[in-house]
């Protein structure tokens, strides 16, 4: 009987290897015009092409929300699951399938509200997957309710007079979880930065968490318009070990800070930045223990060996 071992799975040949960007596209995205999700989709498709990811070896897992429609637009395997529950599903996919490239697409409600427990624990598991939190600071799909990342005072259908609580800071919270290994932030309207960030995330051996600050023209109107217009509204965190932009792209930033991503304390301080949105890599640790490695350690054990083990166990109960 054929057994698929860890190596079998990971080294399986998949015919032709030159995939074009179109090979990763499926259908027509149904996001509103100007929706930041479109820009992220483009970057991800570009990444797939650059990395020549084998489409059938790639799985996009999402929850529910506008953003979570993402997998439907990728010509790969996809799992558009339950609201808030993308992480456990993605972990289950990866656990015994080290050969699959796993991406998680989640929204601010999906990840930071209903999915909070799984988010926190996913960070701790540190399984090798790329996570994109598409954060528009609002519930898009259900038509404008306050999200945990909505700025205080945001007017929504559940808080018509303005929300009353300070927003969660997904970067700070992610940094606080033991075993966090890659924590970055970008904004959808800087495609070069989005791309480099996603690329670095993909290359990171572990759980790479990227918060993409995303425009929702439909419900958050001009929230980011001022930000886009104002060059100083963004602060670029850069470093030779961080996310690098080419010179031209970097020039579009007025505020640039050198930040060594191995310095978590500094990372935490930058995460609190108030008047400007810090983007870049806050923290990276390539050596954090990975639960997916544990999950893969006994894959493909021959059935005969397994039967022997079971029989040995049964012997203990023999009468």
């Amino acid at each position: 009987m054929l057994e698929l071992t860890h190596d079998d799975l990971c080294n399986m040949s998949h015919g032709e290897t030159a995939f074009s960007i179109d090979d990763y596209k499926k259908g027509v995205p149904r996001w509103c015009p100007g929706c930041g999700d479109n820009s992220v989709l483009n970057s991800v498709q570009k990444l797939c092409k650059d990395k020549q990811l084998v489409p059938e070896k790639t799985v996009f897992v999402s929850g529910i929300g506008c953003s979570s429609r993402f997998p439907h637009y990728m010509n790969t395997y996809g799992f558009h699951g339950l609201h808030g529950r993308a992480f456990p599903v993605a972990e289950g996919v990866k656990f015994r399938r080290p050969d699959l490239n796993v991406f998680v697409i989640t929204g601010d409600g999906d990840c930071c509200s209903i999915g909070t427990a799984h988010w926190i624990h996913a960070i701790r598991y540190n399984m090798n997957m790329t996570v994109l939190l598409l954060d528009n600071s609002i519930y898009g799909l259900t038509k404008k309710q306050t999200s945990p990342t909505s700025a205080t005072g945001t007017k929504s259908n559940t808080h018509p007079k303005g929300s009353v609580l300070p927003p969660i800071n997904p970067i700070q919270t992610t940094l606080s979880v033991s075993n966090a290994s890659f924590v970055a932030q970008t904004v959808d309207w800087k495609p070069a930065h989005v791309f480099e960030t996603i690329k670095a995330a993909y290359e990171h051996p572990g759980f790479s968490f990227v918060r993409v600050i995303q425009r929702c023209p439909k419900f958050m109107g001009d929230l980011y318009e001022t930000t886009i217009a104002d060059q100083s509204a963004l602060t670029l965190l850069t470093h030779e070990n961080g996310i690098k932009l080419d010179e031209k792209a970097e020039k579009s930033f007025k505020n640039i800070i050198q930040h060594n991503p191995s310095d978590i304390n500094k990372g935490r301080e930058y995460a609190e930045m108030k008047d400007s949105i810090p983007i870049g890599l806050f923290y990276q640790n390539k050596n954090a223990p990975r639960y997916d490695e544990y999950g893969a350690h006994n894959i493909g054990m021959p059935v005969t060996e397994r039967i022997t083990a079971i029989n040995k166990e049964l012997d203990k109960y023999a009468v």
């Binding site: 790969t76 558009h80 972990e91 289950g92 799984h118 059935v303 040995k312 049964l314 009468v319």
Partner: protein, 622 residues
């Protein structure tokens, strides 16, 4: 005849060995005194000698109940027989009690009867004189035969701290009373203490022999329970262990769980040895994550398992709906405990049948099976994995506390490659076949597994068409709903009508499911011997319902389920035939067959015993 005695025992009446076909023995104590260990060993030794055995744990309400309290009764019941033993039996024949107070707890549970022999630690006669004396008088008044025994004093001859070894002394005593093979007992002790030092082992062997010899010299109690003809290769374990073994034999690789009594010990067993058999236990952050993880694994080709009980089941509801909708194979073991809510975490109930069937919003058809013996606990896991994959569906296995903790021998299963999951298919998918290419007749479709070229699709819990594309069109939703439902009818096609235990017609048919089978059939056998026209039927498939029930029912004057869950009792205030809320299987059978199915049920949190069923049979046929 055995009479109440005070120590020292009158020696002259010693050694009249009585042969019995079965005996029910209990060891009761404060928790932490090792009664369960001694009892399990006693059960194992008996099984090794070829006897039928059934053990059930006696679990106190609290993790740390006060010593010498009625609510603190902790211990074990061991029933041994000349034939296969399928349930815990009725009243105990012989009880070893480490203090007199815990006996009250068991008396309240109707565990004893006139003539039950009680071997009672007598050290309390000094320490707690008043309570002890009162209790003794009580017990005598109830007709129990109390024999006071200086257990602690005897143990002190071998060890300095009697608390640590009294259970082994008791085991020795029981071995003598029931003529158990003392070398088998020694082997058993070696197994139990294998991780401890040689000194510990020796102490315990000394205690064992101490108890044995003391009984030989001092007790006028000796029973012979001849074993049956060789029953072939047997193993002895509890239902949760059997499930864990079944998981490995099914070739399942992932058990994703969150701890919850009484399901957790399945994962404890797996955690011990699963990794040697190609699998891993994943303890998730909660039950939702556990089932999500299992579904992820299943989606990626490795049909996974999640195990839980009532409160955890509630949390899994949403994901179960997704698994049904997106047709993800999945095995869900629900070890039922007392409900609703946190309820009775350590007690038995069969209260989750309707929740398993109907827990999800919308129509969520799924397969539900229920093992009725410990042996079936093993085999049903394999069956469930196969059904899950064949019908691309979640499959529920409903077990319960009685099966989970009951220990009994059964024929050792042959482990072979047939029971294992096939390696995941990584061949190229036929582009012309949709990911939900529902067979119009059966609703079944084959699923693409990530890694399969040309099989790419996005699974979704939204209404979808054959191509897994989100679709809100009325006909598509109707059609896909039909496909999912049709699969249940397709499973039904594979089933044969269940076989009636007893005559195929008569005055009364009892219908059961799950762990009550042994007790029901024993009661039916007894009743039939005395000429009562009663038969029984035991269901193993609850969804789909097994075929032919209506025809079977019509041949009986009355049909009544026996279930361990709640039903109103007609005649209670406000409860009439019309206002009555029925037991769960009864309710289903009424809707299914339109036969006026009655029910006998309770939520005592106790396994049912044959005599209760027997009383009911007599009552019903009056």
């Amino acid at each position: 005849m055995i009479t109440t005695q005070s120590f020292p025992i009158e020696k002259e009446i010693k050694n009249r060995s009585i042969t019995v076909s079965q005996h029910v023995v209990e060891i009761v104590s404060d928790s932490g005194e090792g009664a369960q260990k001694a009892g399990q060993s006693f059960g194992s030794i008996s099984a090794k000698m070829g006897n039928g055995v059934w053990t059930v744990e006696i679990i106190p309400a609290e993790i740390q109940p006060p010593a010498r309290s009625r609510a603190g009764a902790s211990g074990i019941r061991i029933r041994i027989g000349s034939e296969k033993v399928t349930n815990m039996g009725d009243h105990a024949n012989l009880v070893v009690a480490l203090n007199e107070q815990v006996l009250y707890g068991r008396i309240a549970q109707d565990a004893y009867t006139k003539d039950t022999v009680i071997l009672l630690e007598n050290k309390w006669a000094l320490k707690n004189k008043e309570e002890y004396t009162t209790a003794l008088a009580d017990f005598n008044a109830k007709g129990f035969k109390v024999i006071e025994i200086p257990m602690e004093a005897e143990c002190m001859k071998y060890v300095s701290d009697a608390k640590k070894g009294k259970n082994m002394w008791v085991l020795g005593m029981l071995c003598e009373i029931y003529n158990r093979d003392i070398t088998k007992a020694e082997d058993q002790i070696r197994e139990v203490f294998k991780k401890k030092s040689e000194k510990v082992f020796e102490d315990n062997v000394n205690l064992l022999h101490g108890g044995y010899n003391w009984a030989k010299e001092n007790l006028d109690l000796n029973f012979e329970i001849p074993p049956p003809e060789n029953a072939g290769d047997q193993i002895v374990m509890n239902g949760n262990e059997a499930m864990a073994m079944g998981v490995m034999a099914a070739g399942i690789e992932v058990c994703a769980m969150y701890p919850i009594t009484p399901a957790t010990s399945i994962s404890h067993k797996l955690a011990e040895c699963f990794e040697n058999a190609g699998g891993i236990v994943h303890q998730a952050e909660d039950e939702i994550a556990a089932i999500g993880f299992a579904i992820g694994s299943s989606y990626a080709g490795k049909t996974a398992l999640t195990v839980t009980s009532g409160p955890g089941l509630a949390l899994k509801t949403e994901f179960i709906g997704l698994a049904v909708m997106a047709e993800v194979p999945l095995v869900i073991i629900d070890v039922q405990r007392g409900g609703p809510s946190t309820g009775l975490p350590t007690k038995v109930e069969q209260g989750d049948l309707l929740a398993a069937l109907y827990g999800e919003a919308g129509d969520a058809p799924k397969i539900i099976i229920a093992p009725s013996t410990i042996e079936e606990c093993f085999h049903f896991v394999i069956k469930a994995r196969k059904l899950a994959e064949q019908f691309r569906s979640p499959v529920f296995i409903l077990s319960d506390t009685n099966l989970a903790t009951g220990v009994s021998p059964f024929p050792r299963p042959k482990i072979n490659v047939e029971s294992f999951a096939s390696p995941i298919d990584q061949s190229t998918w036929d582009k012309n076949v949709s990911p939900f290419d529902w067979d119009p007749k059966t609703g079944i479709s084959k699923r693409p597994i990530p890694g399969q070229k040309d099989g790419m699709y996005t699974l979704t819990g939204l209404a979808h068409d054959e191509d897994s594309k989100v679709a809100y069109e009325p006909e598509i939703n109707q059609k896909s709903s039909e496909a999912r439902s049709r699969k249940i009818a397709a499973v039904l096609q594979t089933l044969k009508p269940p076989v009636v235990n007893g005559d195929e017609s008569g005055d009364l048919l009892l219908v059961g499911w799950g762990s009550t089978k042994g007790a029901i059939e024993e009661a039916v056998a007894t009743a039939r011997k005395s000429g009562v026209k009663v038969s029984s039927l035991h269901l193993h498939f609850l969804s789909p319902m097994e075929p032919g029930l209506e025809d079977i029912f019509k041949k009986f004057k009355k049909v009544k389920t026996v279930e361990l869950n709640y039903s109103d009792t007609i005649g209670d205030p406000l409860i009439t035939k019309k206002s009555r809320r029925y037991a769960q299987l009864a309710w289903l059978l009424r809707a299914h067959t339109l036969v006026d199915v009655d029910c006998y049920s309770n939520v005592f949190g106790q396994p049912i015993n044959p005599s209760k069923v027997l009383d009911m049979i007599k009552e019903k046929l009056k």
